[in-house]
């Protein structure tokens, strides 16, 4: 792929797609959206990047190690955060409770925002891994 038009349009379009995906993830508890749809949008932008600029460019930023490590860390973070919330919610332990904040702000809803981010990371890298595995058999 050495098309100059594709490369120049990609420079303009890809940041907007990624910003839209981040917006959908971070507003998941205020408006329709959330981790699944926002993560899919970010994964689609990564797929577009790899389609336009070729596999060598993206291998410097996202390789096998990055994908596997960030997915495992996001999954572990989800389990630990939610397990902590279940312990403090059920038993009478008087541990530190995450404050809920005023409804309507971005930083509200307690654990909903970090959990949305973890789900978004998992889904986005899943989409990217599916594409690169189906396309050329490598991650």
């Amino acid at each position: 792929m050495n098309d100059i038009i594709l490369k120049e349009i990609g420079k303009i379009v890809i940041p907007y797609i990624q910003i839209f995906g981040i917006y959908v993830i971070f507003n998941g508890h205020l408006s329709p959206g959330g981790g699944f749809s926002g993560g899919t949008v970010i994964g689609a932008s990564l797929v577009l990047y790899k389609l336009i600029y070729g596999p060598e460019m993206i291998k410097k930023i996202i390789n096998y190690k990055i994908v596997m490590h960030s997915m495992s860390i996001a999954l572990l973070a989800y389990g630990i955060l939610k397990g902590y919330s279940f312990i403090t919610g059920g038993a009478d332990l008087h541990l530190f409770q995450i404050p809920l904040g005023t409804p309507g702000n971005i930083l509200s809803g307690g654990l909903l925002l970090p959990l949305n981010i973890a789900v978004g990371i998992i889904v986005g890298f899943t989409i990217f891994a599916f594409y690169s595995l189906f396309d050329e058999g490598e991650l």
Binding site: S31, P32, F36, P103, V123, T126, F130, L133, F134
Partner: protein, 123 residues
């Protein structure tokens, strides 16, 4: 029987389920079979989402201030089906990977030719 006219969403979803089932049965191409399985998936999701709908009420998203609880639709079928869609995608990806491996082994994705090659011992 008059319920069949008022419950039109459920009727259409069952018809879609039947079409997907027959697509799954009578095509010998593996990609067509996977598409049929996806059609069956979406038919089940449509059935569930139609069960949660209530006439003349809003989506369960609070805009402005909280109205009374009786003014929103049932949120449980929506949240359950959100799980189902993403699982359906991963099942589809796994089935397609198996299809590629079958092609590398036998050189075709038609089930009739694969069973013929199995019988004659082509290796």
């Amino acid at each position: 029987m008059s319920r069949l006219i008022t419950n039109y969403y459920e009727v259409f979803s069952i018809i879609l389920f039947g079409i997907g089932f027959s697509t799954l049965l009578f095509h010998s191409n593996l990609i067509k079979k996977i598409i049929g399985m996806n059609i069956m998936d979406t038919a089940v999701f449509l059935f569930f989402a139609a069960k949660g709908y209530i006439e003349g009420k809003d989506a369960p998203i609070i805009r402005g201030e909280f109205k009374e609880a009786a003014s929103y639709i049932n949120p449980i079928p929506t949240s359950l089906m959100l799980t189902g869609i993403v699982v359906a995608v991963s099942v589809t990806a796994f089935a397609l990977a198996l299809t590629i491996m079958i092609y590398k082994e036998y050189g075709t994705i038609e089930l009739d030719e694969i069973s013929e090659k199995e019988e004659t011992g082509w290796k």
